[in-house]
Subunit: 316 residues, 2 copies
Amino acid sequence: MVTKNDIEQAHKLIAKYIHRTPILTNTSINAMVGAELFFKCENFQKIGAFKIRGGMNAALSLSPEKLANGIATHSSGNHAQAIAFAARELGVKAYIVMPENAPAVKVKAVQGYGAEISFCQPNQAAREATVQKIVEATGAAFIHPFDNDRVIGGQATCVKEMIEDMPQLAVVVAPVGGGGLLSGTALGAHYFGENIQVYAGEPEGAADAVLSFKTGKVEKAPFVNTIADGLMTSLSERTLGIIKTYVKDIFLVSEEEIKGALRLVYERMKIVVEPSCVVPLAAVLKNKAVFEGKKTGIILTGGNVDLSAFGEWFQQ
Amino acid sequence: MVTKNDIEQAHKLIAKYIHRTPILTNTSINAMVGAELFFKCENFQKIGAFKIRGGMNAALSLSPEKLANGIATHSSGNHAQAIAFAARELGVKAYIVMPENAPAVKVKAVQGYGAEISFCQPNQAAREATVQKIVEATGAAFIHPFDNDRVIGGQATCVKEMIEDMPQLAVVVAPVGGGGLLSGTALGAHYFGENIQVYAGEPEGAADAVLSFKTGKVEKAPFVNTIADGLMTSLSERTLGIIKTYVKDIFLVSEEEIKGALRLVYERMKIVVEPSCVVPLAAVLKNKAVFEGKKTGIILTGGNVDLSAFGEWFQQ
């Protein structure tokens, strides 16, 4: 289990590699919700997403011998960039397994950090088998996107910063995919906050966490189809265990609600965020009574977005 | 002529109505240019654009008797919002003349501030005639979008803030439409800076200012066709007079260069800006030798953008 000290150590370890991201507020969104919202802007983070926190902490926690052979992961998203970035910073090789249908823009970003990319069939089994082969051949250290205590401890530094900057927070809301950020946030809020309640938002089109939260065991989503491409993964035993204990509730939101929240952030806050990122705001807007009058922290997780998709998301 | 004292007074007058907007930097864009760029983020300003500075200063400078009958202007863009906002803040009526083809999103924003909108044919003569009629009928005070010393003095407070926050600036670049911001910036840099050179960027598809700058008299653009919808207007004698004296040069940029700069700001800086806003950055990227090694301030003028247009701007 990730301890308070683990998170404090993680924060010290990664400090020089990350930005201390700002917290923004918006009067008109506050008025819509009837609460004071505090947006932690991880879209302004290095690599454009919070994932650098966990990836960097995991890489820096490896022994020099382990690290020397490089680091590896499978991801089509921000974790791939985090591992590629970490490897470049530490002067070792990065091996990234990406599904062959990964968006060109993400492949380009990972290549930009100098990582070696292996493409595989777009399914979980192929990803795992491919990375396994690479690890065996190269001796690289595998860093799982979320099923890893160092990753969870790293992600927890985000809520730690929020609490340091806004000690009066009553609630924090994070999105949930594999649960690395959510479990880290829940632990961080528990260790560093005073009775902070942690909630999560999840897309209806990737509703595994809400189900697992109810049944108490890791479940698959009934179907997966959402523009929140960072939240398609299922929980692991490790993340579910933490979430069951420390998370108050998980709210589902529809694709229309995600698009509405996305439009709100672009139009009112004038910042670029990715769809996964606004799922917590969509959840807050849908469940105003829960948050009314409360100082509510919202983690805006990232801003790595394919601009050419906007035409579809924001039709007139 | 707007004096140093006029700008100082304007800044005091409007202080409580505006945000002190942040200055952002971006390592990768710096590396592309070979200069240190400092982006003044007026996209985060009240109403989403710098225009509130000039509009508010002009409204606040009216006598109570003049103000009592309300304020009026013609504009399809951010100045309309500025006047509507100012009127609401001061508890008077706003009369806004908009062309009948103005984007719904802008009409909605102006209505949102409670202004009374009159539609007219989409040409300059119709705009002026319509506003003239309204002024005669209501006694409202007309506040021109740029051909007004109070407006110019208000816009100048933007560069004043930049110099206060970054006294070592060597260059400042602004976009030019009617020249209100550019002339205010040139005067502000002259009064508050130490040998700061002021440059402008202008779209090839609205190239009146570059022509007027060369011939020394107010010229029309050879043609008007640009996504930089805030920069379609021509200079006035007043703004050209200041620009001729205090601006070093005006650089033209193509539509492709505007789109490229727009993509850069969205992808690297993760902030929402409107096309007019990135014309200075496009000019800097096109003329690197001029800016190389210099601490360069860039005014990001606004972020009021129609999200449904992104599909067209950012095709894959």
